[in-house]
Symmetry: C2
Subunit: 201 residues, 2 copies
């Protein structure tokens, strides 16, 4: 069994901020790697008739306060509630998916979350969209053109179907040994099962 956990996420998911920003440190401490797997959580939520947070004021208020408290707990930056929901969730996740093939996915996703949560800018609209790509040494025009192609749309749909087939319905989700763990707060549970499975194999 490879010492690797699949990290399924969508840029645009609020709790995924916590995982995106702490996962490298967690990986190092646990001595394992994560495979970054972008998908379109919004498409799955629509299909499942899940009602998103932003239509439920009490839950939304609670969610932000909970993310803020957890960010403090992990020593992550917090600059107040960022713009929500982001406008073009599919576009930035298509970028992340093509970046996964090219080897700069984690780099891009961290830049996107930093602009969103730390600078308070929707990473899916300009100027943030291009700025984040330039900041990690990518050519925005080329990357965005590629991400708006039919091929990129198909690729994200395929990734999202794969997520759905695994039983994934939210972001972040960690997958190891055929089990899924939903939520940043289940990352440690996933590692525990992964290590038990790896030791047994």
């Amino acid at each position: 069994m490879p010492s690797q956990i699949d990290f399924w996420f969508s840029i645009g998911s609020t709790y995924s901020y916590l995982s995106v920003m702490r996962i490298d440190k967690v990986a190092q401490l646990a001595g394992l790697t994560f495979r970054w797997r972008p998908f379109d959580v919004r498409a799955i939520m629509v299909e499942m008739n899940n009602i998103p947070f932003h239509t439920k004021p009490a839950k939304l208020r609670y969610m932000w306060r909970d993310v803020e408290r957890r960010a403090a707990f992990y020593g992550l930056p917090w600059s107040g509630v960022p713009p929500y929901p982001i406008k073009h969730l599919s576009l930035v996740n298509r970028i992340a998916l093509s970046a996964a093939d090219a080897g700069w996915c984690a780099h891009y996703v961290k830049a996107a979350y930093r602009s969103w949560f730390v600078n308070g800018q929707d990473p899916s609209v300009e100027p943030s969209l291009s700025d984040n790509l330039r900041a990690i040494g990518q050519n925005p025009d080329e990357v965005i053109a590629r991400a708006t192609s039919d091929q990129a749309k198909d690729a994200l749909e395929t990734a999202t179907s794969a997520a759905s087939a695994l039983g994934i319905f939210g972001s972040p989700t960690f997958v190891t040994n055929g089990e899924i763990f939903w939520g940043d707060d289940r990352l440690e549970d996933a590692i525990q099962l992964h290590q038990a499975g790896t030791a047994a194999s």
Copy 2:
């Protein structure tokens, strides 16, 4: 500031099994007490247009596996997926509420969850309903008659309105220092904030 955390719950909530069964030990280790506060989570969910788990197969499957894994983690009994949802959520929570006034709430709620999760019996229907009361030394006829009175219905509505006014939308929820913590997996966060608040006062 009193060294007490409010523990809001509804019998019928699945994740509340974990809190109900481990909270005494947690309280002892942390040197604090919990005030057991029954409310009607279903009424709040209907009001908020929250779609319950049992209409979402993927989420439901995941939820049970997650509860099972977490039960194992806490060393709690697990006998497979119990009957769900329970039939008369309001009735058993009206019993729990009158029990809170009489001083045997925790005792009753633990008996109800044990019959539900360990013996696989819906605690809100007979014979489990009466058996659970007898097992803790209560007279089922008297208790059930009291719990079906208008006064008991009003009392649960009042408790539920109080929960709603605090921003509560799910069970279990822990409240301390004016902050709410939703989910069994936030119990430790609640204690941490509680102790920080108590130390500062």
